[in-house]
Subunit: 869 residues, 2 copies
């Protein structure tokens, strides 16, 4: 005979699969000696058996009755007995918490007979009448499916007579109301309200089982990726009452402060109330500290139990309790949810208190939660009153406020004058870069989490809301329209890149203060970490920020962002339009001076650490204007006929720029570009070395498909190093097209390191343009065709397989070869975990993600250690 | 001591590596008993030793002298002897023929002393003087590097006096001319003309060795992908003279007609001439048939030798011969080059004659050579006089003439009136389809061998010249400009898609007549073939053509081309603009009727053969207009506000359409499209089956990345089949993104067949947009970074590796799984060879490539058989 029923004292915390989270918690508390009202749990297996057959499995009911008998023995009361009636609560409890599912039926067991017994037993007729009212209402709603408002409207009407609260209703009134409720049930469910307590119990259990496959529960599970096959457990427990007068109470509490992590009980309670009253919010609960004055003994007992449970579970607990006429009962305990700041403090404190070890502390903090600690947030008071204009994707975290500007030049101009601005664009392109630098935040109407705006903003640590689809930017009218509002340039808006919200008006923001605990936790994390964490940084400023955050080098320095600054773009354009290598060299000479200075500044910022510099990557048309007015102006600047410039622009136009004339293809067709960049790198490096800087340049060739491409580019780079008399550098390549991964063995014959460009590798391996993915990726995720957006979390099965192949073939040719990742995935915890498993040497991410990556890498190393045990 | 010199009787045909092609031929002829003037060959190893050290290797000269002594013994003459002088020819001869390299020095050994001897020996003073003139001239030019025109101008000046030919010059005049030539040499090369025959020989040998690394030879080898390390051999041979009067002659001949393959000697000769006179073209040679009348014995002997050599080499021979005073000498034999038609006829005839077996016959014909047999060509006489306007890529073979039209609507209108038109466009898009159907040929300014124009034209067997970059189409002016000419609409042009040439004016074309030998050869080929050959066909007409060419089914039927015909496009556009599934279904219902009829017609054409139908693939914006005028007109037709239509078009715009919202992604977001198509397929199939047609539909889902995508689409298809009560179909998928190849094992759990879409697989695996590849692929091939254009010949190392992985993983999950290829590579012989090796079940190509594919597949099978032996 399958065991379907476990008394609380028979279970423990490890049995979550079978008993659900709540049941396992009640069992564990019982074992720990906490004052838990007696009860039992019906297993998830029973639920699954019911779902499969539509009937309670054989033997279940008998076991339930035995369980009830056990409660009777422990409480000395009898279920259905008119003199000393036992009342029960019936609560669902799945493995994972599922708010919004069917939850609780209280006071089960009441009928006209037991009602009288309850009144006599408690000496409180009004209490008993109210209990019966509550039971009828909950049973009607939850077990019989009568819409809740059918009851509430009657209750409200009664209270409206004389403008009263629940507690003001008399016993008579409550009895009359209960009769009315039973009439509602008769009308709606076409049955008499059942008086038999066992029938009540049986129906309540079945109702909980059925709720597992109810629409709300199914939707919730789909949304939260919870398996449909888990089933729910049912907890049946003796009722205790927090509403038996002024010495009774009910409350919820955390063993520490879940917002700050402070090591102090935190919670709230209501005198003379049942749990549902706290949730309903009709009366305002009081802070838990007051309980210390009001019921000092109870408080002391609760504090001791809370402390005991925390030590027992080795983590901050979220507890429910009830005080019945001065006696404390524990109704639930679970690990409490917390903010990022609290997560860090609790983990560090628990380790310092000796409750957990440091490895556990490192594993306790969700890496993504760190993100909020390093960015400004909107003042919570102001936020509560603000008007949300629209929502987009939370593309780069943090909050900022400023005046709307619609073009990058104005942004730069206003910012120079000290005005904070928010750049609002349909989408951004590389030529908007200076405007993004100038702005406090960026808001775009189009583009996803990995659009240009998102990537650049994250790189700079600036808030960005991307793909706010309701926005229409109207440059001519000088405004943007959104959901019926028209926001002119110059108006204040506030952008929250952590949530994706956009607010009208100027809102105060709070500055981030990560505090010393973060530093402690990161130090602990670094002790376990097995891969290096580098940063993607294009400027000395970014490099410095990243280094402060613990970056151990630059994994990707994009040289093209430098091309847009100030007047450099003119020289770049002159180079592109030139017809001959000489013409290009003439223009490149102007850029070389800037690049040399840029590289030198970056080398200084990264003194002693490796700096991976990627040669020119984007297609040339990204540097050219596309509006005819600008084309004519540029033609004049360059002194070439406008017609010629138009023809050049037209000639460079591409059907699929992502797969076009870019990456090392540029350097092969125009070797003078690679020459210029290599010269600038080695001249800058020589300069710095002369000044005593420890320079470690790594030159990286992008978009390589064949060993031969790399060989040609490497020859140029080596030639420039020799000419500059510079030694002590390395040459490597991006692995960012599938072919490169497949022929990695041959490429490793030339490359000294690989860096997986997982943005492009994802685009090519899956045939998905990240700029165009919005047409179907969200629907794919919703329909569960994809588990995650592959541009946020690495597709381990496909893209990851290419990485595994490249690692294997590359290292076979060059044992111990250094390999890293520099795509957006380098800052994503799940992807970092993969990188550690795949044996990469480092991950590289945007500066503000460095702490996240350090923590995620440490956790991955700890997981690997556990797997290996 | 290395053996550097081989007497002709010591070598044979197998020693091409060592003796070069010419030397091996002379040796083999000698062994076969043909009358070859005695001689020897200096090996390619000697050449390589010279190249490495800059000096003749030790022992070589001694071996040469022994060789000369052998010639002396056989001819009874002495090298440098004044009474019976032996003269030698010195000719280079590499493994592969390299026209344009240094070739021949004749009459070597002459000096004032031997000259007198030669005159006495031949009794012809003028002949001897002319021989000395020729020798001086050739030696000066070839060995000493004096520019040839320095000699020719003096010869021409002499002939101009009295308007004479070479043969009119007197012995005295020739002697004077020779003196002048020696003066030129003295002046130019600053040396006295060497009189010592051994010095002459040594210098000539060194000159041949040096020519191997001369600029022309190096360039030639680069162009023809011949290795630089082969080296050239040198053939030293006793001179025989075709210019010793009326019973002497020289000529070249083929053992069969190289243009038609007719089994009859074919060639030409000159009486009283040396070989160089035939090549120089001063006198018009006579057809070989005349020799039969003029020198019947010699002709009979030559015919017998030609026949003997042909049997010996088992192939058509290209021979050089000389008749010296009635005695025949064979100077060279090699396998003759031939046209496609001749290749087929010679192979079939030789097999029928029992000279070769059928397998060899099948292997003898270059598959690509078949192509010319099935397409019209420009009349060769007209071609010789025509003006080439410009050149583009030979995108689809065949020739056509017609009036220029610049837009598809006019093309359709004029063609309906019976006017032949050539559609000239900057590039074509799917909406030009009806214009391409109407046109005789297509000419585009942009796009490569795999551009839309090229692919569609090849599919229809229509000539196409693509990417003629000099062309500027000016729609407003109603003309196209090219290299200074302006060709108005309505003017006649002629397009040769086999060569890529475009001609001004109307030119007659010749109709193709492949003849019965092709049928025979194809039947033989089919007996060896191990993979099926299918066709890519979208219309019943294409299907019928392909079937005539031997297609064994349709491997790819694209449903979207049907969407453009007539008024269907309006319904398609209505569907795209609709906001709701209902709106889309309403529009789709209109298309369904057409699709059903189309599918039924294709099933009928393919009675008894499988038909693979791909569901909708291209991005939706390809179906929408982009010029605002057309947008406004469409908005009116559809009855929607223009603003809304503009917004929809803008919303569908993509940065990288190749990686965008297309393929099965469409069918997943809009399942009603797949439903409509599946319904049309099964209704058409049921209809045909009722009429007794053997229908074998295979439904193919494009651009699948994950098993889940396929599962969803397959569910829809299966549902429609069940609704139509149709059984006996299969569902498969395209493998056209790398991820699909990697997870092929899981996809094979659902797919019943794979079809490798190698166009897209190449684009994604290599990260190269075929539409944009022109920026760098030509340079990559020129620089030898790539061996071939990967869109023409499959990249076996990268893309091929993905195919191998998919075959292995797919068949592991579904043993014996059917797999084919339907990209452009399905018609490329080298790619077909790979497909056979990779174990694919079929290849599918455009209808006109089917014979090519059948032959290539047979050859691949024969190669595999040989490998396995």
């Amino acid at each position: 005979m399958t065991k379907y029923v476990y008394l609380f004292r028979e279970g423990d915390a490890s049995m979550r699969d079978l008993l659900g989270g709540k049941g396992a918690g009640l069992a564990e508390m019982t074992r720990a000696g906490a004052p838990v009202p007696p009860g039992f749990t019906i297993t998830t297996e029973a639920c699954n058996a019911y779902s499969a057959n539509g009937a309670l499995p054989a033997g279940l009911w008998e076991q339930v009755l035995e369980g009830v008998a056990d409660i009777e023995r422990q409480t000395g009361r009898r279920f259905g007995d008119s003199s000393e009636p036992l009342l029960l609560s019936v609560r669902s409890g799945a493995k994972f918490s599922m708010p919004g599912m069917m939850d609780t039926v209280l006071n089960l067991g009441l009928n006209p007979g037991t009602l009288a017994g309850l009144a006599a037993l408690t000496g409180d007729e009004r209490f008993a009448a109210d209990a019966y009212r509550r039971f009828t209402q909950l049973y009607g709603k939850i077990v019989l499916g009568v819409p809740g408002e059918r009851f509430e409207s009657r209750l409200d009407a009664l209270k409206a007579r004389g403008n009263r609260q629940d507690t003001d209703l008399s016993a008579d009134e409550l009895r009359t109301l209960t009769g009315e409720f039973q009439g509602v049930i008769r009308e709606h469910a076409a049955i008499e309200f059942p008086e038999d307590p066992h029938e009540q119990l049986r129906n309540a259990v079945i109702a909980v089982f059925r709720s597992w496959n109810g629409r709300r529960a199914v939707d919730y599970r789909r949304l939260n990726k919870i398996s449909d096959t888990l089933g729910t457990a049912v907890n049946v427990q003796a009722m205790v009452f927090g509403n038996l007068g002024p010495t009774s109470a009910t409350g919820v509490a955390f063993s520490r402060n879940p917002a700050t992590g402070e090591a102090k009980l935190y919670g709230e309670y209501l005198i003379n109330a049942q749990g549902e009253d706290v949730v309903a919010g009709v009366r305002t609960p009081r802070p838990l500290a007051d309980l210390q004055a009001e019921m000092p003994d109870v408080y002391a007992q609760f504090a001791a139990i809370a402390n005991q449970l925390e030590r027992h579970y080795t983590d901050m607990q979220d507890m429910e309790f009830t005080v019945e006429r001065g006696r404390l009962y524990m109704l639930q305990t679970r690990t409490g949810k917390r903010t990022g700041a609290a997560a860090v403090k609790v983990a560090v404190d628990l380790a310092n208190e000796g409750v957990i070890d440091r490895a556990t502390a490192v594993q306790r903090v969700e890496p993504a939660a760190l993100d909020q600690l390093f960015h400004p947030a909107i003042d919570p008071v102001a936020r509560a009153q603000a008007h949300v204009l629209t929502r987009g994707l939370p593309a780069s975290p943090g909050a900022a406020t400023g005046q709307v500007v619609l073009d990058p030049d104005t942004a730069e101009q206003m910012a120079r004058g000290g005005t904070p601005v928010i750049l609002v664009r349909t989408e951004t392109a590389p030529e908007d870069f200076h405007g993004m630098v100038a702005a406090q935040a960026v808001l775009t109407a189009r583009g996803g989490m990995t659009s240009h705006a998102a990537v650049v903003a994250r790189g700079m640590g600036k808030p960005c809301v991307a793909g706010a689809g309701d926005i229409r930017v109207d440059l001519e009218a000088g405004l943007f329209a959104v959901n019926g509002s028209r926001i002119p340039a110059g108006a204040f808006i506030t952008v929250d890149g952590t949530t994706g919200e956009v607010f009208e008006g100027h809102m105060p923001t709070t500055e981030p203060d990560p505090g010393p605990d973060v530093t402690t936790l990161m130090e602990w994390a670094d002790a376990y970490r097995t891969v290096n964490v580098r940063t993607n940084a294009d400027t000395p400023a970014d490099a410095a920020v990243a280094r402060r955050f613990g970056a151990e080098g630059i994994g990707l320095c994009r040289t093209e962002h430098m091309f847009f600054e100030g007047t450099r773009i003119d020289a770049v354009r002159e180079m592109i339009v030139a017809d001959t290598p000489e013409g290009r060299r003439h223009a490149l000479a102007k850029i070389e001076e800037y690049q040399t200075a840029d590289f030198a500044a970056i080398f200084r910022a990264m003194d002693g650490l490796p700096v991976t510099i990627r040669t020119l990557d984007p297609p040339l048309h990204e540097f050219l204007p596309h509006v005819d007015e600008e084309v004519v102006a540029l033609a004049e600047t360059l002194g070439v006929p406008a017609e010629k410039l138009r023809a050049r622009i037209e000639g460079l136009r591409e059907a699929n720029p992502m797969l076009g004339f870019r990456g090392c293809r540029l350097g092969i067709i125009f070797p003078e570009i690679t020459e210029m960049q290599a010269r600038a790198i080695f001249n800058a490096a020589s300069l710095c070395r002369r000044d005593g800087i420890d320079v470690r340049p790594e030159i990286m060739i992008p978009l390589v498909n064949t060993p031969e491409e790399l060989r040609r580019q490497a020859d140029i780079v080596r030639g420039c190093a020799a000419a500059a008399g510079f030694e002590g550098y390395s040459i490597g390549t991006m692995i960012e097209v599938p072919r490169a991964a497949l022929v990695a063995g041959k490429i490793a014959g030339i490359a000294e390191f690989f860096s997986f460009g997982t943005n492009d590798l994802t685009q090519t391996a899956m045939g998905i343009s990240r700029d165009d993915a919005a047409h179907f990726i969200p629907a794919y995720i919703e329909q569960k065709i994809l588990a995650d957006d592959p541009f946020q979390t690495l597709d381990q099965e496909g893209v990851g397989e290419l990485i595994r192949i490249a690692v294997e073939r590359g290292r076979a040719a060059r044992p111990g070869m250094k390999m890293g990742i520099c795509g957006e995935h380098g800052g994503d915890p799940a992807s970092i975990e993969f990188c550690v498993r795949a044996g990469l040497s480092y991950v590289s991410c945007s500066p503000y993600r460095v702490p996240v990556a350090r923590l995620a890498a440490a956790q991955a190393a700890l997981e690997a250690r556990e797997r290996d045990r």
